[in-house]
């Protein structure tokens, strides 16, 4: 039988991907340009016995998502930059309490209200460093409607596997544009469910590091009684200020991501093998970059594209290798220069690193990128 196809907005594909991944709870608050994610899920979640709630504010939405996830439900929220700013408090909570959840950020301009209907990519550093305190982050940056579907599924997988919040960031252009999507059949994409504890209720400890870097999380209402807090805690979940325990816990929560970069990382490369100049771009900007690469090649310029799909943890290794191989890396991003700092860090001075930035609500177009490439060569 032919697969089901449809012309969908990115935001709609995100909602469909969530349902595919087994998401059963959405807590949100209306905000442009992400609202279609909520609207779609308000229709589709109750159909599969899931729950949709529109909360009183962004913080409440994040709180409801963490609460629902603690009962074992795969949980999601969707918002945009101003909403992510408000959610930071509880994104940190989900980090320290190690509660799986997925946060969609359909990026617009900023700071503050900025340009609600215009695209932006200026929340990428916030995705890593937005909440206070040391923590690891996973952030995915799809660039097509089909990829929004599959990366939303992967976000749930990573959230459940690594027991932490995972953010999916796409700009307004990808969120709102419509493209054909081919719906994967059940079983076609990997769907990872939360690991159940091996210990019974009497001996279970929610942060027992003897079980590995990612101790299994039991569900409220499943026979297990345990304590969850935003305080630094010992392996039994209760608060502690004992230096050695706090240190071990903080490090484990970062190491569980940084020791598994190879599993979390995902990049796409286009014509980088012989590239003299590599355009480093993600989201909708990567689509402009690919167009530019083709045009530049026609003119005899050996250009290539590096497109991170996992933005955090940062693709340090591959970026460093490209810096050694090529003469220049052009970082194109719809902000005033954020990821370029990470690229410069990884490049270690081995090649020229130049940026092409834009924050006027218009996408970075291929002509702009081509001009910058010619400037740096």
């Amino acid at each position: 039988m032919a697969k089901k196809v449809a012309l969908l907005q990115g935001n709609q594909a995100c909602a469909a991907g969530a349902v595919y991944a087994g998401c059963k709870f959405f807590g949100g608050y209306p905000i442009t340009p992400s609202t279609e994610v909520a609207e779609e899920l308000s229709i589709s979640l109750p159909k599969v016995g899931g729950k949709f709630i529109q909360m009183e504010d962004e913080i409440g939405a994040m709180a409801s998502v963490i609460g629902a996830s603690l009962t074992g439900m795969k949980s999601l929220t969707a918002t945009s930059g101003p909403g992510v700013s408000l959610k930071q408090e509880l994104i940190g909570y989900a980090c320290i309490a190690e509660v799986p959840c997925v946060i969609i950020n359909v990026m617009r301009g900023g700071p503050s209200t900025g340009m609600p209907t215009g695209p932006g990519q200026s929340d990428v550093m916030q995705a890593m460093w937005g909440t206070h305190g040391d923590h690891a982050a996973i952030a995915l940056v799809p660039s097509s409607v089909q990829e929004i579907f599959s990366e939303t599924v992967r976000a749930f997988n990573l959230a459940e596997k690594y027991r932490m919040p995972v953010q999916v960031l796409f700009d307004e252009i990808v969120g709102h544009m419509r493209e054909r999507i081919v719906f994967p059949e059940p079983g076609e994409l990997e769907v990872i469910d939360r690991e159940a504890p091996t210990d019974g209720p009497d001996t279970y400890k929610p942060y027992d590091s003897t079980k590995g870097q990612i101790p299994p999380l039991a569900s409220f209402g499943s026979g297990y009684k345990f304590h969850v807090t935003g305080l630094n805690k010992a392996d039994d979940g209760f608060p502690t200020t004992k230096a050695s325990l706090v240190d071990a816990e903080e490090r484990r929560q970062v190491d569980k991501v940084m020791d598994n970069v190879a599993d979390i990382e995902s990049n796409e490369e286009y014509l980088t093998e012989d590239a003299e100049v590599v355009i480093w771009a993600f989201g909708s900007t990567a689509r402009s970059a690919r167009y530019a690469v083709n045009e530049l090649r026609k003119e005899g310029i050996k250009a290539g594209l590096f497109r991170p799909i996992t933005l955090w943890p940062f693709p340090t290794k591959r970026t460093a290798e490209l810096a050694v191989q090529c003469k220049a890396i052009v970082v194109a991003e719809m902000n005033l220069g954020q990821m370029i700092h990470e690229v410069e860090r990884a490049a270690k001075g081995n090649c020229v690193v130049a940026g092409e930035f834009r924050v006027d609500g218009e996408p970075i177009n291929p002509a702009q990128i081509m001009k910058k490439v010619k400037e740096v060569l």
Partner: protein, 182 residues
Amino acid sequence: MAERYELRFSGAGGQGLITAGIILAEAASIIEGRSAVQSQSYGPEARGGASKSEVIISDQPIDYPKATIVDACLAMTQEAADKYANGIKEGGLLLLDADFVQRAPQGNFKVYRLPIMRMAKEDIGREIVANVVALGAMIGLTGVVTKEAGEQAVLRKVPEAFKELNKKAYNMGYEKGKELIN
């Protein structure tokens, strides 16, 4: 057909031009099985203001999703013509509502006029189908998708009770559009 064909539909918010763009994208990508990307930009107004919808159609995968140089543009109001009827390719085409756009933008492209709103109101009897008349006219004018694919896409989008009305609107637009280039 060229590797990449770019269309822009512009008019007042609420005129259904985003829907027209979506229907065209469905005709190309779902019915004809080619690649299409539809995008839009809009202001904070739900009604009024100028809005635009862009559709890129190609036989290859589409990378840059926005218009680079527009092959065919539609402007239903003067404000839309002033704001969005730009970046049109040399030798490209611009279709204007004959009653609502007095001043055509200058450029090296062909300008056509049809009284789209009036056709919808007087000939079809419902102003609301002006977007479908316009869609038909653009397809007739450009041949970017087949007449049948366009009609199928329109009919997929509308409720049963309005199918005849929309079919009539689409076909009238298509014929008038085709007449303009013959």
